[in-house]
């Protein structure tokens, strides 16, 4: 592999997982000094981001399906290996994870309650997410999949809003149900593959060779997809998500919640689709239908919410509907658009949640009926809010547009009807986002509101890179598309 040779031999991928974990431990050890913890966490996330960027620069033009790979025996008795692999897809998602965690730590700066633990959990979550995006052994993947569940549960359950208990329990039960289904399907696949080939293995590469009767394929595909569909989330498995996102602590955690959702789509692309190609092929229309239902259902639901965070939560569901539609369309253009949209949506929605956190800390409310007139009081904050809202509604020239247009264009090619059905979604997306803008920024300011300070330097530090990225990816998305061309196993 030419690309990897430019990089010193080192278990870079393990480092991506280990570094945040080590940072988390250090945070817990230093929990006496909040200031130290902050800088420690920031340093950790920045270092992780630096590694990711380094990997991106060094490896993005690799010619094989895997840009980097690490492999070691782990539990040989069950054919379980410690295998990590980095390809164009995981490259982008690790990059997104690392980037958003820097944002999250910066946002968590003013958090008052149990800051060290809070930061430690954020870092554990980062570690888990990295693992999910890198593991190519099913057991290892499952391990990380569960690892990322727990920190999120605690983040919501301890630091969350008023209804945090309910949200946490729901989040846990839903995800658990999905995980169990996936676990069962995994073990069944392991046994079937073992019986077929004589060698029992959990390695993705081995399992890909399994030939299954169609019924079994359907069942196992269903098991995997249930887990991923709940995480994504697909309508009708989505009602945990608005609760979780609106209750997740505003200071940082909510950005990362967005990342959690990406694991669902990632799981489909990495595992469910390649492992069960026949079932996938047959299920594409169903997926497309669910995607369309999700796109509209969530957009309409978003229109009726008064809680700013719930609007954004539904907006996420709606956007992921479009991502899934691109996958279901099953051609290169749409598929690359989906991945691109997934990444840019992570950035844009992360930024929106960050702005809402800043808004909330100033006004003490997230209710549209109690907001308004922000532009007169804090024009910088308002301009940022407007900017990201416009990016989110797919304004050409900003980040989301390229992904959206590729998804729609690609879908139109293989399934014109699906694209025609999806396109009016643009109208409703504009409707709910502009309602959000009008409700927060415009109109008269509430009489009782005290003066609002505008953005601080720390907040600008958070938002400015995101603004630059949003513009840059809108004008030149090519760097993100390039690594995707070589990703194996898909159209």
């Amino acid at each position: 592999m030419t690309a990897a040779t430019t990089l010193p031999q080192f278990p870079w991928l393990s480092l991506l997982i280990g570094l945040p974990l080590a940072g988390a431990l250090l945070c817990l050890l230093h929990r006496r000094s909040r200031q130290e913890c902050r800088w420690l966490a920031l340093a950790t996330t920045l270092a992780t981001l630096a590694i990711c960027i380094g990997l991106f620069v060094a490896c993005r033009h690799g010619d094989g399906p895997w840009l980097l790979r690490e492999d070691a025996a782990w539990i040989p008795r069950f054919g379980i290996r410690y295998t990590l692999g980095l390809d164009g897809l995981s490259l982008l998602l690790t990059l997104l994870t690392a980037g958003l965690h820097v944002v999250a730590v910066l946002l968590a700066w003013p958090e008052q309650r149990r800051l060290p633990q809070f930061l430690a959990l954020l870092l554990v979550l980062e570690s888990g997410l990295m693992g999910v995006f890198l593991a190519v052994d099913l057991v290892l993947f499952y391990l990380f999949w569960e690892v990322m569940l727990l920190p999120m549960l605690f983040l919501i359950g301890i630091w969350g809003g008023e209804n945090r208990r309910r949200a946490a329990v729901r989040f846990f039960l839903y995800t658990l149900a999905g995980s169990l289904a996936m676990l069962v399907a995994m073990i069944a696949l392991y046994l079937l593959h073992g019986a077929q080939s004589g060698s029992y293995s959990f390695a993705l590469a081995d399992l890909l060779q399994t030939r299954l009767p169609l019924t079994q394929e359907y069942l196992l595909f269903g098991g995997f997809m249930l887990a991923f569909a709940i995480k994504a989330p697909l309508v009708p498995f989505h009602t945990w998500q608005p609760d979780a996102l609106s209750e997740a602590p505003a200071n940082g955690a909510v950005d990362v919640t967005g990342l959690l959702l990406k694991t669902g789509i990632y799981g489909m692309i990495r595992f469910a689709f390649p492992l069960f190609p026949n079932a996938t092929r047959d299920a594409l229309p169903l997926l497309a239908a669910l995607a369309l239902v999700g796109l509209f259902h969530a957009a309409w639901s978003a229109y009726r919410q008064d809680d700013v965070k719930r609007i954004l939560a539904y907006s996420s569901i709606s956007h992921l509907g479009l991502v899934l539609l691109g996958l279901a369309a099953w051609n290169t253009t749409a598929w690359q658009g989906s991945v691109l949209l997934m990444v840019t949506h992570g950035i844009v929605t992360g930024a929106l949640f960050a702005v809402v956190a800043m808004l909330r800390s100033r006004t003490g409310t997230r209710n549209l009926n109690e907001l308004g007139g922000l532009w007169g009081a804090a024009p910088q904050l308002s301009a940022c809010f407007l900017f990201f809202a416009l990016a989110s509604l797919g304004l050409p020239g900003l980040a989301n547009f390229a992904g959206e247009i590729l998804v729609l264009l690609g879908t139109f090619r293989s399934q014109p009807l699906w694209a025609l059905l999806a396109l009016p979604g643009l109208v409703f997306t504009a409707a709910y986002l502009l309602r959000l803008v009008q409700g927060t920024l415009w109109g008269p300011a509430p009489a009782a509101r005290a003066a609002i300070p505008d953005l601080t330097v720390r907040e600008w530090l958070v938002l400015l890179p995101l603004i630059v990225l949003t513009v840059w990816l809108g004008l030149a998305p090519a760097p993100l598309l390039a690594p995707l061309a070589a990703v194996g196993g898909l159209p």
Binding site: W300, A430, L434
Partner: protein
């Protein structure tokens, strides 16, 4: 010179960024902000002039500049590219020329506004987006501009953000335009994939699309569907039936915005787009007929609404919708040159009218403010007799009214007459369209002069306390008015028809753009009419007569016998009610689309999410609760339950597979 094309949208972009970032905190000085904004557009105008005149003397008429690659996926390759041909060259002249004047005007008009910097930031950004739209060499760059102008229009309509009506109007404009965008995108997709997968031409580039359009087949389904979709996009941006309802509401924005965006430039984007894709449209007679008919109906419906409005800006807004209808009539009968010609002359006289109305509103506002009255400064019923206070505004407004009414030799006469001539005599002509066009021309003359007389002549109805505070506006306002009025007088001379001894230069100028399609698809004046000027003279006389009659009626009703309008409304009260309320189209849309969608949205959330999904989930939860109460005796704690379930599940699964 052609490698400097990128500078044209670049200057306003820079101006916008400078004013946006530093205007409030660092520059603060109105004169400086205004100078930056106006200067940026003026620089673009200079570059545009240089490009325009270079092109005029250049035998090669199509030039492209690719600045960078945007994205490449599969067969899709999109560049940041610009295209200069006679069509885009004329458009950039209009956009930057009229744009500069309106920027200059805004310095005076917006004086003292708190958001002065914000206004110039948006206005410059608008000019940048409009220039991208016009100069883009492929459909996606055009779409960037297309959405970009929509965005700026949204921001500027909502400029007075504390007013709820402004926010609502802005939102309405954006959402309605998105409906049109749906059409634009479907059209684009259709053309791209059909040309690509069936004919191997993978392109979004306009020049390549035009060159290969013939592969799609004359009158074929694909080309008809695609052009109809594009036209849907055009109806959104250019406020035609069925998507015109946003434009009158858009008058919530400051008046210079109405002049620049909602009269002279942005709303003509749909007409420009058809001009840009004239080959595709020429290939589908069905679409052309639809375009012509929609244009005609929009023209007459909007004109009828214009009869009964009392808000001076609303009259002008409906007049704009109506005049845009004329341009679409032209495009629909294959008179592409006439359509763009009218676009240009309309930009002059309508911008002048809007700016004139702004001058009046500005004066009225100050007078009423001075007298502590809260009468509506835009309501013509509070005006009258303003001539003696505002002679320059009066004169320029009057000239523009004569121009729009179609009285020779002012600009509007030549362009409108050319359109009517083509609707009558073109091979794609249509007598119904001609008839509607001719009637509408008369209606236009009537309601424009109604507006003129009500504002400037007759008895002064302004409250007597405010009366003497009305003053003529400062030079930054009157100079643009005079320049535009001058253009409204002479702008038509580039298109004097041969029948009147002219050379119709504009026709030759556009030959490289439209000539091909017109020749190949046999679009032109019917042979029987081509060589005799008799018919042309006849029609010309008729349209002048109609205009004069319109003006005459307005004169009688609003100057000679001012009691007549009241008698009419009393006599035809039902009709008046319908016209006054804009035929209740907004209300119908609200019932049909807006409210039903809102209701359904509520159902989605409260009905489906809360009742169905959560109901099932909570039911399951209760079930689990019951079960776990039982399990609690053997296990303690969530994690253990989890492990147990894992094991149980595995056992069950394995058992199933072993038993198979």
């Amino acid at each position: 010179m052609y490698d400097k094309l990128w500078l044209i949208p670049f200057f306003p972009l820079v101006g916008s960024i400078i004013n946006g970032l530093f205007g409030k905190r660092f520059i603060r000085n109105e004169a400086a902000i205004g100078a930056i904004g106006t200067g940026a557009v003026f620089l673009s105008f200079l570059v545009s002039c240089s490009c325009f005149f270079t092109l005029l003397n250049d035998p090669v008429k199509v030039h492209q500049q690719v600045v960078a690659s945007w994205m490449t996926v599969g067969q899709l390759q999109v560049d940041w590219g610009f295209l200069l041909d006679p069509l885009s060259a004329l458009m950039i002249m209009v956009v930057t020329g009229v744009g500069s004047l309106i920027h200059l005007y805004s310095i005076g008009y917006m004086h003292g506004e708190e958001g002065f910097y914000r206004f110039f930031c948006y206005l410059n950004l608008f000019v940048c987006a409009m220039l991208m739209l016009v100069l883009g060499n492929n459909a996606l760059v055009m779409f960037i501009g297309w959405e970009g102008v929509g965005l700026c229009s949204y921001l500027l309509i909502g400029y007075y953000f504390e007013k709820k009506s402004a926010g609502d109007a802005a939102k309405k404009a954006f959402v309605v335009n998105r409906v049109g965008d749906f059409g634009f995108l479907v059209g684009l997709f259709t053309i791209f994939w059909t040309l690509g997968s069936q004919h191997g031409v993978w392109t979004l580039n306009f020049v390549e699309i035009s060159e290969n359009a013939h592969l799609l087949g004359f009158g074929g389904t694909v080309v008809t569907v695609a052009t109809l979709c594009f036209f849907l996009g055009a109806t959104g941006k250019s406020a035609q039936i069925p998507l015109y309802t946003w434009l009158p509401d858009a008058m919530e924005g400051p008046t210079p915005v109405s002049a620049l965006i909602h009269a002279a430039t942005m709303v003509t984007a749909g007409v420009y787009m058809i001009g840009r894709m004239n080959v595709l449209f020429a290939m589908s007679p069905t679409t052309m007929t639809v375009v012509a008919l929609i244009g005609a109906f929009t023209a007459i419906v909007a004109a009828s609404i214009g009869f009964a409005q009392n808000d001076i800006k609303r009259v002008l807004a409906y007049s704009t919708v109506s005049q845009l209808g004329f341009m679409f009539m032209a495009m629909g009968v294959g008179a592409f040159t006439a359509g763009i010609f009218h676009l240009m002359t309309h930009a002059f006289f309508k911008a002048c009218l809007f700016l004139g109305s702004g001058s009046v509103i500005h004066a009225m506002h100050h007078a009423l403010h001075h007298a502590h009255l809260d009468d509506d400064p835009q309501d013509m019923r509070n005006m009258g007799g303003l001539k003696k206070y505002m002679p320059i505004t009066w004169a320029t407004f009057g000239i523009s009214c004569i121009a729009i009414a179609g009285i020779p030799p002012l600009a509007g006469f030549f362009s409108k007459d050319e359109i009517l001539w083509w609707t009558f005599g073109s091979t794609r002509g249509n007598l119904l369209v001609w008839g509607i066009g001719a009637i509408t021309a008369g209606m236009t003359a009537f309601y424009m002069f109604r507006c003129f007389f009500m504002t400037f002549h007759g008895e002064q109805r302004t409250h007597k306390k405010a009366k003497d505070h009305v003053h003529e506006s400062p030079w930054v306002i009157t100079v643009p008015l005079m320049v535009l009025a001058f253009l409204a007088v002479v702008g038509g001379f580039v298109g004097v028809p041969a029948a009147l001894g002219g050379h119709n230069q504009i026709h030759h100028y556009f030959e490289p753009v439209f000539g091909h399609a017109q020749e190949v698809y046999k679009i032109g004046i019917k042979e029987a009419l081509e060589h005799s000027h008799a018919a042309e003279y006849g029609l010309m006389g008729l349209s002048i007569a109609i205009a004069v009659i319109g003006i005459g009626i307005a004169f009688t009703m609003y100057l000679k016998r001012p009691e007549l309008p009241g008698r009419f409304t009393a006599r035809f009260s039902q009709l008046h009610r319908w016209v006054y309320n804009k035929w209740f189209v907004d209300e119908a849309y609200d019932v049909l689309f807006v409210n039903s969608t809102k209701k359904f949205a509520t159902f989605c959330w409260k009905g489906f999410d809360v009742k169905v999904v959560d109901g099932v989930v909570n039911g399951t939860g209760k079930l689990v609760n019951v079960l776990s109460t039982a399990l609690r005796y053997t296990q303690s704690g969530l994690l253990h339950n989890y492990a147990l379930t894992m094991v149980l599940g595995t056992v069950v699964m394995v058992a199933i597979f072993l038993l198979q």
